[in-house]
Amino acid sequence: MYETSYHRAGSLAEAAQLISNADDGKFLGGGQTLLPTMKQRLAAPSDIVDLTKIPELKGIREDGGSIVIGAATTHYEVASSALLKEKIPGLAALAGGIGDPAVRHMGTLGGSIANNDPAADYPSALVALNATVATSKRSLSAEDFFVGMFETALDDDEVVVSVSFPIAQKSAYSKYPNPASRYAMAGVFVARLGDGSVRVAVTGAGQNGVFRATAMEDALSGNWSPDAVAGIEVGADDMLHDIHGSADYRSNLVTVMAKRAVAATG
């Protein structure tokens, strides 16, 4: 790791001040992606500003028809939340499958979505559940928030404060992990929202990060069953391909994971 200066922000205002004072600063959540990247010298921020101790970034609460999760909430806290297990079980299950137990103790919701790794799990949940991202500056729909691979709508000095997930009638996530890294090679989040509309979001597979599988949404709207998506192929054209799986294989996995996610909603 190159030299860097660590700062711990106590408030959003302080975080903004610290980052504006830095030459090339970066916000730090749990650090489970940023620190390994810095250790490999692939990132060299002059300053890192730790957001995890800011009070308004913590906690899980119900607010109207939504569950609001603070950005500094860890994957473990999401996975073990009784409220989430009851209201949006697919989201709790997703968080319980990120990384491994030690990573889940550190990694945060805000850190994950701000990085927008194409193989990360959370983006699929935000898009499928039609979540709203509250930042230090504004509110954004999930689809507006995720711009492309490792790209979000966030400004350099903008902090994710919380994410508001509308409570869904049904939700489930199914992923096929990369055998080495255990990141998603294809992860599919299916949701039937409160208004009955259906959303299907895919992560891990697409070249541009998370995307909606609209043909699957249409099929599930009329028939919420694994069979409804079994014959739907998302196509290999925009799929990632690497030593672990071709675009064709990933395309197949998307269909299979969609089926299994629907089946998991019971």
Binding site: L35, P36, D100, P101, A102
Partner: protein, 163 residues
């Protein structure tokens, strides 16, 4: 440089370290506790697992500065008053280690696993899944899984006996 203070294995410690110092370097190099190991660069192998404020974390993927003010427990701090922790004892009794290099992380992860699930609530499938972040190259996991199950069940028995 920053001053980092923490309670390490029950003892308050402090040192001035470069901000880029990882928690594992603080533990090993600054404090000389070499029971915590480094086996990879990418947060996968788990040889470096310690407990920070009661939860298992990978000390190679956390800055010492992030742990400022925290309570940290390493393998060296697990036994109390000369008596092995039941998980430590179970690793020996079940031949859950060979070269010993992954063992610190395995034991710390196992203790955390039992804490979260509750003693006596672990089956083989759960244990294998929970060990996703700990790699062993010697044992083929067979006896590690056996050791964790035995420790979990034994701790349940101890808890029951204490009631």
């Amino acid at each position: 440089m920053s001053k980092v203070s923490m309670v390490l294995n029950g003892k308050p410690v402090a040192a001035d370290v470069e901000d880029r110092t990882l928690l594992v370097s603080f533990i090993r190099e600054v404090r000389g506790l070499t029971g915590t190991h480094v086996g990879c660069d990418t947060s996968q192998c788990g040889a470096c697992v310690v407990h920070v404020d009661g939860k298992a974390v990978k000390s190679c993927t956390m800055l010492a500065a992030q742990a400022d003010g925290a309570e940290v427990v390493t393998l060296e701090g697990l036994a109390s008053g000369g008596a092995l922790h039941p998980v430590q004892a179970a690793f020996k009794e079940n031949h859950g280690l060979q070269c010993g290099f992954c063992t610190p992380g395995m034991i710390m992860s196992a203790v955390d696993m039992i804490n979260r699930h509750g003693a006596g609530n672990l089956d083989e499938t759960t244990i294998r899944h929970e060990l996703e972040g700990n790699i062993c190259r010697c044992t083929g996991y067979h006896n590690i899984v056996k050791a964790i199950k035995a420790a979990s069940d034994q701790m349940a028995g101890m808890a029951q006996a204490a009631e």
